[in-house]
């Protein structure tokens, strides 16, 4: 049996006195999708940030793509794609300049980088708006660029926090082609819209306020 893409057991995260996650556990195989549901303050974003190695867990065991977090977090750099509340795009650069910048950080440059950027911009229908400054784009267009940025380096694990936010129906359909289910990547999707994502989820994790998993 192949190694799980994500294996979490007894995960806890505290912010000072407040507990954001308490006893979370799940196992996700490569190619699978985990949908995380819960009310505001249930620790969904905290969970994604821990899996992305941006936050340290306070307790429990977390393995992502075979690497222990936080001990081996450095081995995961460049293997995870995070689509969070912030698009991680510089407002004063154009969409294409932003993607070029991220491509270079991930070791892509020259013709292969340009080809990949053109392919992604076409996939989200942004070829003609790619030269405009991000600050001048609508929230939906920024989200489309953020999706390009998230998958630019072909990550093995996608961490998606409300991936459809600000997207219209057409945008959602285009985005699905890039961040939808696929054999090449596992996905952890946080959403307030179970009807939209439950059909494509292999597992569902429900969290309650305070970050405790809801018993099935």
């Amino acid at each position: 049996m192949s190694e799980a893409a994500v294996a979490v057991a007894g995960l806890r995260r505290d912010y000072g006195e407040r507990t954001a996650l308490d006893g979370v556990g799940f196992e996700l195989a490569r190619g699978e999708t985990l949908l995380v549901l819960g009310p505001n303050g249930a620790g969904k974003t905290t969970l994604l940030r821990i899996l992305a190695t941006l936050l340290r867990p306070s307790g429990g065991e977390v393995r992502v793509l075979g690497c222990r977090i936080p001990g081996e977090a450095w081995k995961l750099r460049g293997r995870i794609g995070l689509l969070g509340h912030e698009p991680l795009l510089y407002r004063d650069l154009s969409g294409r300049e932003n993607l070029r910048f991220h491509a270079r950080l991930h070791g892509l440059r020259g013709e292969p980088a340009e080809a990949r950027i053109a392919e992604l911009l076409a996939a989200v229908g942004m070829e003609r708006r790619a030269e405009g400054r991000v600050a001048e784009l609508s929230a939906g267009m920024r989200q489309r660029l953020a999706i390009c940025r998230c998958v630019l380096h072909e990550p093995e694990l996608l961490l998606l926090d409300e991936p459809d936010s600000n997207l219209d129906a057409g945008g959602r359909e285009l985005a699905r082609g890039l961040i939808g289910p696929g054999e090449s990547h596992a996905r952890v999707v946080v959403s307030h819209d179970p009807e939209r994502f439950e059909p494509e989820a292999d597992q569902v994790l429900r969290l309650e306020a305070g970050g405790k998993p809801v018993a099935a």
Partner: protein, 226 residues
């Protein structure tokens, strides 16, 4: 891992492009320094300065102008998520320190290219001191860039960053300012530049630069951690 040089170039090019496009730091720094020289010019009611007074006016003005650049150095990373993007990328995070310090150093050099001639015009009888002064300026800029980058990366996470940055940075650059003013004083003396203990002060400046560049390089990875 992406080679550090590629990451360094990407971050530096991004910063310089954004500054050229928005002009958020340099014009403010230059305007501040020029206005301060005008205030000194009329406040001191002197058409000519020399020695320690000239050195003090020059360095106090440049240091406070530099603070404007230091405060803004990581604002885009903080507000637009650049820290997360860099932490997710397969790069040596010290490349961020090197790129930011180089960007700040570049701003300081450009600032001085604009305002030091204005200082000379307002206060100096001859321009003979400017050539040797360039060496002092470059070494002090390197020190301010290293220390400023280190402090700015920490202060930017605080809501009181505009206060916290200078409060931490100013005491740290006191040795640098002592050396810079010490080296500049004989250069700006009446009757043309002198070189009393000039080499010693340059050595002190170089040592300060080396220490803070090494400290920044060594600890920057940890500063970006949760």
């Amino acid at each position: 891992m992406t080679p550090s040089r590629a990451a360094f170039t990407a971050i530096l090019a991004k910063d310089l492009r954004a500054e050229l496009r928005t002009l958020q730091s340099l014009p403010a720094m230059a305007l501040f320094a020029t206005t301060t020289f005008v205030i000194f010019r009329f406040g001191l009611d002197r058409t000519s300065l020399s020695g320690s007074l000239a050195s003090g006016v020059l360095w106090a003005t440049l240091l406070f102008a530099a603070l404007l650049g230091v405060n803004r150095l990581f604002v885009a990373e903080r507000e637009e998520g650049g820290f997360d993007a860099i932490r997710l990328a397969p790069i040596d995070r010290s490349a961020l320190f090197a790129a930011k310090a180089t960007a700040l150093f570049t701003y300081l050099v450009v600032l001085e290219l604009v305002v030091v001639p204005i200082f000379a015009l307002f206060f100096l009888d001859s321009a003979a001191a400017l050539a040797p002064l360039a060496a002092v300026l470059l070494l002090a800029d390197l020190g301010i860039a290293a220390t400023g980058t280190l402090i700015s990366s920490m202060a930017v996470h605080s809501r009181a960053r505009d206060l916290l940055g200078p409060l931490v940075l100013l005491p740290l650059v006191v040795p640098l300012m002592i050396a810079a003013t010490g080296a500049s004083e004989p250069l700006l003396a009446v009757g043309g530049p002198g070189y009393h203990r000039f080499g010693t002060w340059l050595a002190v400046l170089s040592l300060y630069d080396l220490i803070f560049l090494l400290v920044g390089w060594a600890v920057f990875d940890f500063l970006l951690e949760d």
